[in-house]
């Protein structure tokens, strides 16, 4: 984080230095991009992060494993369940806890609902970045229903802390599955609405097609993940590559883009929502089945405060923004000796310094929007 931002010394006479952020409507938080522009064309773009740094990794070290869960909500606050899940998987691996099957289905269900909610936020804000305000409210109307579902599930709307070490906080409440089905059947045709509203719009396409192209090899080299990587045509999804919970029992496809431009990244997310609906339906069906004991949502005998045996573990999940990893080290005590978060947004946003060169100021917004970063996770 640069404390005092000044124009670079080698600024030419026909160039202008713009601090794009940290207070700017479309940096999605407190990202600063130091732009050197010639008229409308960006000569150099240097992302500067850290304005939201809260020292999460230090704080983990002073909290027990159960307390640390609350911190993970605040990483990527748009998709809190994924953070909870990744953290719990890492801690479970470290402490040798096995969550019951029913809990795993519920986890996947909650994670996929949260993925839809998160991608809806992306859809809305990407539209706003493009100057179309209406899709935002459409997206938030549907997201509100997911928030209601989560509120019924765990009391929290944005920060859930629903997934706990050893299972989930509570079983599905009575009547919840019907509500969830009602939402999913309502939501599925809405995706077509979004396509007619935004994806098919010629102005929108002219703003996104061929803008911010990331080649497949560059994407892999920069360590991008999630829809940002898949938009470049690399079919890498942690749910398929290293299945966690019950993803290996579920039937879904991974949408992949072709050109790696903003439109592909955008459309990967839209297609992912479709897949998430499918996964959620499959989970609901499985949860209604007889083989999962109702009420068995937590592993037996997991205390509030426990010691994990000395060792190291790494677990990663496919969060809404990409490959979210938790690297946990235990020295045999009550709290993690070291907890590192591999935030996908942090790694995805680094590529900005390469792809911003030569684009227009309006494209900066489009490219940044298509990377879909959350600054809570970038800065941690």
């Amino acid at each position: 984080m640069t404390k005092h931002a000044h124009a670079p010394a080698d600024l030419k006479a026909d160039q202008m230095f713009i601090n794009f952020g940290p207070q700017h409507p479309s940096t999605h938080g407190v990202l600063r991009i130091a732009l050197t522009v010639e008229g409308e064309v960006v000569m150099k773009g240097d992302p500067d992060v850290g304005f939201l740094h809260r020292g999460m990794e230090k704080l983990f070290e002073a909290r027990t494993y159960s307390q640390g869960l609350i911190l993970t909500d605040r990483l990527d606050y748009i998709s809190a369940t994924h953070n909870n899940l990744g953290y719990c998987l890492a801690v479970e691996k470290l402490a040798g806890i096995q969550a019951p099957l029913r809990a795993q289905y519920i986890r996947v269900l909650a994670a996929e609902l949260n993925r839809i909610a998160s991608h809806l936020v992306f859809f809305g804000t990407f539209g706003v970045d493009m100057g179309a305000f209406t899709p935002f409210l459409y997206a938030f109307r549907e997201r509100e229903m997911i928030m209601d579902l989560f509120e019924m599930l765990c009391g929290g709307r944005l920060l859930h802390s629903y997934v706990r070490v050893g299972g989930v906080a509570a079983d599905l409440p009575a009547g919840w599955t019907e509500k969830c089905r009602e939402f999913l059947t309502f939501f599925k045709p809405m995706l077509k609405d979004y396509d007619t509203l935004l994806s098919g719009n010629p102005i929108f396409r002219s703003r996104t097609e061929g803008v911010g192209i990331i080649g497949a090899d560059r994407a892999v080299s920069w360590g991008l993940s999630g829809p940002t990587l898949r938009g470049s045509g690399v079919s890498y999804d942690v749910r398929k590559a290293e299945p966690y919970c019950v993803y290996d029992k579920l039937n879904f496809t991974v949408p992949v883009g072709k050109n790696g431009d903003c439109l592909d990244r955008y459309y990967c997310r839209m297609k992912e929502m479709e897949q998430s609906v499918e996964i959620a339906f499959q989970c609901l069906d499985a949860l209604a089945g007889a083989e999962l004991n109702p009420g068995e949502f937590m592993a037996k005998g997991v205390p509030k405060m426990f010691k994990a045996p000395a060792g190291q573990a790494y677990a990663h999940v496919e969060a809404s923004r990409g490959d979210l990893g938790f690297f946990a080290v235990s020295d045999g005590g009550f709290n993690p000796y070291r907890m590192h978060v591999r935030g996908p947004s942090f790694i995805n946003v680094a590529i900005l310094q390469e792809i911003l060169v030569g684009c227009k100021i309006a494209d900066v917004v489009a490219i940044l929007g298509s990377l879909d970063i959350v600054l809570g996770e970038v800065d941690r």
């Binding site: 984080m1 640069t2 404390k3 992060v49 850290g50 740094h53 020292g55 990794e57 230090k58 704080l59 070290e61 002073a62 909290r63 027990t64 307390q67 691996k93 470290l94 560059r218 892999v220 080299s221 920069w222 360590g223 690399v234 890498y236 590559a241 290293e242 405060m305 010691k307 000395a310 060792g311 190291q312 573990a313 790494y314 990663h316 490959d323 990893g325 690297f327 080290v329 020295d331 045999g332 005590g333 009550f334 709290n335 000796y337 070291r338 590192h340 591999r342 942090f346 790694i347 680094a350 590529i351 390469e354 800065d379 941690r380």
Partner: protein, 177 residues
Amino acid sequence: MTADEILAKLQASFPGLVKSEAPLKDYPTWTVPAGSVRAVFERLHSKFSFNYLDMVTATDWSGPANPKGYPQSPAVTPAAAGAPSATAKDVFEVVYIVSALSTGMRLCLRCELPRKEAAVPSLYGIFMASDWQEREVYDMYGIKFEGHPNLKRILTQDDQQGHPLRKDYEHVADKFD
């Protein structure tokens, strides 16, 4: 090709490369001497198609954290409040997780450094993903990545005193306290 076969092939040219005694769970884990980190990764990248750098981080093994390292005193549990750790060593350990997207194989590589003037070759150029992650490790631990073109603080402000994730870090009160 399994991880062991790759290890055997690599050991011919890098005699210091060995299997770790306490591996990362479910991951083939190797220990690399600091000097040959870049060469090992170059070989892994070019010969064995390990093209995706998952994570770069570090651990300070010098014992439990100093309670003065926190801006406000957190609810430090008994175990963290200075009880000596059994694993305490005077080293930093840099941890890399690298994977091959084509085969789905994953590796964890570790490298121990002395805490004083810790330095390790940078992976910048082989994996661009190392750019910001190495900067973060430098910011948090003060480990120098030799060959990194832009090694400066990233998450904390540029006039920050000390490296916060070191276990002996002491917080200097500032205007935000």
